[in-house]
């Protein structure tokens, strides 16, 4: 078995190396395309860059530096993916709701597009949450899945937001589509609240929310680093998705091209 050194003893951390390589790639691509070397095509790439570096270091800390958990042993390390994805699923879906209310109150297209982007990124995060949860559950509880309040409510939450996307896909008129997507998103947010409260309202095999009081200090720090990594990467993904949606909306709005003249 190979044993890797602790992060603090490395001259350059893997995350710093990843960040440097990414910056170098951007600089070289800019030069080769005749742009200024410091040119970033869009602001969100800065978030992606920081997020990726934090993720690499956060996962290194989680897998190598973090002490193993007293009860769960090495299996406990999956929490450095599972817990951040749970937090970010909640945060992203909360923003879906805020943007939905924003759209219905102001009617601004940017809010509608952000509802779509955050819903999609939230679904990706909740799939990651479910997948890591199942891998966590098998060695600890003994099963991948059980009809437990927490697991069922999480699944309902995921399906609700998938339903919002299906609703969106089913409506052709841009105005109606935007309105009903927002209404659907606000209603789906209920399931997020229920998921959060499920371990308090009902008896569940899933433990209650942990807090810095119930987690040992070095583990808390590593969880925070990973949470920020997930946050920055989520902002990056949402912004990227929003740009696609924005381009699509502009294309839909543009007047049709004149018929081609054949000579």
């Amino acid at each position: 078995m190979i044993s890797l050194p602790h992060l603090a003893s490395l001259p350059v951390t893997p995350g710093q190396l990843t960040g440097l390589l990414a910056i170098l790639t951007i600089v070289l691509m800019n030069i080769s395309r005749g742009r200024a070397w410091y040119h970033l095509p869009s602001w969100e790439h800065a978030f992606g860059l920081v997020g990726l570096s934090l993720l690499v270091d956060g996962q290194y800390l989680g897998l190598i530096d973090a002490p193993r958990e007293a009860m769960m042993g090495e299996t406990g390390r999956i929490m450095y993916v599972h817990v951040p994805s749970a937090w970010l699923t909640m945060v992203v879906f909360l923003f879906t709701c805020i943007f939905a209310v924003g759209f219905l109150l102001t009617g601004k297209r940017v809010f509608d597009l952000l509802v779509e982007s955050t819903t999609e990124v939230g679904i990706i995060l909740s799939i990651l949450l479910q997948a890591t949860g199942m891998l966590f559950a098998k060695p600890t509880w003994g099963v991948y899945w059980d009809w437990d309040p927490r697991l069922v409510s999480t699944t309902v939450m995921m399906l609700s937001f998938m339903g919002v996307l299906s609703l969106r896909a089913a409506l052709d008129d841009a105005e109606r589509r935007a309105t009903w997507t927002s209404v659907g998103a606000i209603l789906a947010t209920t399931s997020m609240g229920v998921t959060y409260m499920s371990v308090r309202w009902w008896r569940s095999i899933h433990q209650m929310q942990s807090s810095p009081d119930t987690i040992a200090k070095p583990m808390v720090l590593i969880l925070r680093i990973n949470a920020f990594a997930f946050l920055f990467l989520s902002i990056w993904l949402i912004a990227r998705r929003w740009r696609i949606a924005d381009a699509q909306a502009r294309m839909d709005e543009a007047p049709p091209l004149p018929p081609e003249v054949t000579v």
Partner: protein
């Protein structure tokens, strides 16, 4: 009605329904008519009515009660909620984290003899994450019942 006013109405309507559903669920959840598991006290209070039905009970594995026979693959232990105990009997090795003093959710049925036949034993972890304390034997950190019992 202008589209703007209509949308505002939709916003208020959706928020009211969402908040209402959430409030209703928070109230309904308190009744505890539908529960994921019973405690040993609740199971025993049902008496004969609970016998033969598939239910889940949750409690702590009582210290000194675990009897694992690796050759026969049988596991007998008691779960306790502090006041009442139920003896559990089942086949097959439990999950790796199973040990004395830990929370378990056991699915199975109460036999006529008052012994709970388990179909499945799940281990419930609490919300504490701690590194092992100094002096804890390494075997304790990720022990399996198979090595402990033999």
């Amino acid at each position: 009605m202008s589209p703007h006013a209509q949308r505002r109405l939709f916003a208020i309507g959706a928020l009211v329904i969402a908040a209402g559903a959430f409030a209703w669920l928070s109230q309904a959840s308190m009744s505890q008519d539908l529960v994921y598991y019973w405690s040993p006290t609740e199971l025993l209070s049902k008496g004969d009515a609970a016998k033969g039905a598939t239910v889940r009970i949750m409690g702590l594995v009582e210290k000194g009660s675990v009897d694992w026979k690796p050759d026969e693959q049988t596991l007998v232990f008691r779960v306790t909620d502090g006041s009442k105990q139920v003896t559990i009997e089942g086949k097959g090795a439990p999950p790796q984290m199973f040990r004395e003093g830990i929370g378990v959710v056991v699915e199975g049925e109460m036999g006529p003899d008052g012994i709970f036949r388990s179909h499945e034993v799940l281990v419930k972890h609490n919300n504490e994450y701690k590194p092992p304390v100094a002096g804890m034997p390494p075997a304790d950190m990720s022990k399996t019942l198979a090595t402990e019992g033999s």
